[in-house]
Amino acid sequence: MQLESMYQEIILDHYRRPHHKGLQELYDVEVHHVNPTCGDEVTVRVRITADGAHVVDEISYDGLGCSISQASTSVMTDLVSGKPLEEALAVQQEFLTLMQSKGADIADTDIDEDLLEDAVAFVGVSRYPARIKCALLGWMAFKDAAAQAVAAKEQT
């Protein structure tokens, strides 16, 4: 039974009681991403500060999908909220690396567990290629939204 290693308690908790779920009125940018193979969807709204640090000061989402995609999005919102964009994107990048680790023991990799905090719980997902896209859905949406938000700020 490898299930427990994939569905760690943290994941199931976030799935049952998601954070930042429900779209907020305050936002700069909204993006909608889908996973065409399974139909999972997520909408992410982001607001960043106008200063050079572009702190993520509002993030919210809504979505339809499996426990992995929903929990992962919930964890993502916790981790990026309140961070300057550069730091938030570093976490995003680290999560991507985690997903590409093919189930390797984190100790054997360069992955920074401290950076990932709760997101480290998704390590088991990296052994299931078809589920990696689920775990990445919200994270990719955030990356997209962040880029658009910066572009919008810099234009004005």
Binding site: L3, T37, C38, G39, E41, C66, S67, S69, Y128
Partner: protein, 424 residues
């Protein structure tokens, strides 16, 4: 237990090498995804390999002995496959999959606009309609959307009833005098529903429309006679009926194929070629441009022989029993709802379901962890999934190598998923 249902499944399983492998740390493989693609018996693999090690050459292009033998193998395969659906050899065209077969007809129809007067029958344009259903696989939906986009014709569709059947209440309005093509799935790959071909064909005939039947999920599972079906075109894929990947079949009425403009063009489909223009060979060659997949045709013929030796009626009866057992077993679980007919009446062996409180992806994960390989998602029929108000479903599909133990493993695994996620 294995012979319970009339077929000697133990003996059949022995012909499929992959079925003796294990998955996920030693679990027995319970393959319930034949609706996506079937497994292949050694007889098919051996036939394909024998072609390569003994007769390989480019068919219809050479005069030497290997080319003669390869051409003979290819055309004999065509005869076997045609006979399997009650057709004549010249009435079937080899494509790479069923998807290409449908695209072939859709593109031939837009090509008719700039082709000669003999193909006027196929022209569609503004004011004309093309009719599909809301339960189509994307392969029998998107090509028609594109045909409409290319030509200005309108796409219409028949809706579905809550119990997973076609809604025929407005058939006479949807299919009307503007309709040039009615394209529908014979057996739904999600609901299992077998559609009332006769009713649909009759209405299409009344308005003079062409009819294309997507038989991807019926030809592999029941005895098929194209003349009894009465359509103009019928498509299916080899890989879902024990044959190799990379080959599909388009059957067409000979007089229609003879009048239809080509789709893919190139070598072997021509009559005379000048720089200024070309003329084309008679069907089926006209629709088979380039060096064809001869080895795969030989493999598919071996698959037909294999199925014939067992008997398509026996295959259908066997799957019917498995389907009944699955519907019963799953329906008995609290919180499990079947999407599609809940009787075995006019229904094949695709059983889709949702489990309250557990997303299909998560259901699938638990099943996979126990070696039960099903498909989860929209099954390339996204509008259908949306129609039933669910994000996705879990789908089990059966074939001749499955037995009652496989069905029971499925039901047990769904129970395990409920236990794991604490939803039942």
């Amino acid at each position: 237990m294995s012979t319970l249902l009339g077929l000697d499944v133990t003996r059949i399983k022995a012909d499929f090498p992959i079925l003796s492998r294990t998955v996920r740390d030693g679990r027995r493989l319970v393959y319930l995804d034949s609706g996506a693609t079937s497994q292949k018996p050694v007889q098919v693999l051996d036939a394909e390999r024998a072609f390569y090690t003994q007769h390989n050459a480019a068919v219809h292009r050479g005069a030497h002995q290997l080319a003669e033998e390869a051409t003979d193998a290819y055309e004999s395969a065509r005869a076997t496959i045609a006979a399997f659906i009650g057709a004549q050899p010249d009435e079937i065209v080899f494509t790479k999959n069923a998807t290409e077969g449908i695209n072939l007809v859709a593109y031939a129809m837009s090509n008719a606009t700039t082709a000669g007067p003999e193909s006027a029958r196929f022209v569609v344009g503004p004011g004309d309609s093309i009719v599909v259903t809301e339960m189509e696989h994307h392969a029998n939906l998107v090509p028609w959307q594109m045909l409409a986009q290319r030509t200005g014709a309108t796409l219409r569709w028949l809706g579905l009833t809550d119990d997973g059947r076609l809604d025929l209440s407005n058939l006479d309005e949807v299919v009307d005098a503007t309709t040039k093509m009615v394209a529908f799935v014979h057996q739904s790959n999600v609901l299992g529903t077998i559609n009332p071909v006769e009713t649909l064909v009759r209405r299409a005939r009344e308005v003079g429309a062409l009819v294309l039947v997507d038989a991807c999920q019926s030809v592999p599972h029941q005895s098929t006679d194209v003349h009894a079906i009465g359509a103009d075109f019928l498509v299916f894929s080899g890989h879902k009926m024990l044959g190799p990947l990379g080959i599909g079949v388009l059957w067409g009425r000979p007089e229609l194929l003879a009048a239809m403009p080509p789709f893919l063009t190139g070598g072997s489909m021509i009559e005379v070629v000048h720089m200024e223009g070309s003329t084309f060979a008679a069907p089926p060659q006209r629709f088979e441009a380039g060096v064809p997949m001869a080895a795969q045709a030989v493999g598919l013929a071996a698959a037909c022989d294999y199925l014939t030796s067992i008997g398509m009626d026996a295959v259908a009866a066997h799957e019917h029993e498995l389907t009944g057992r699955a519907i019963e077993g799953l329906s008995a679980l609290p919180g499990v709802r079947i999407i599609g007919p809940v009787t075995t009446e006019a229904r094949g062996g695709a059983v889709s379901f949702v489990v309250d409180g557990i997303h299909p992806h998560d259901v699938g994960q638990v099943l996979d962890d126990r070696g039960v390989e099903v498909r989860v998602g929209h099954h390339c029929a996204w509008p259908l999934t949306r129609r039933y108000g669910v994000p996705a479903t879990t789908r089990a599909t059966f074939y001749l190598y499955n037995d009652a133990a496989d069905v029971d493993a499925l039901v047990d695994a769904v129970k395990a998923a409920q236990a794991f996620f604490g939803s039942a």
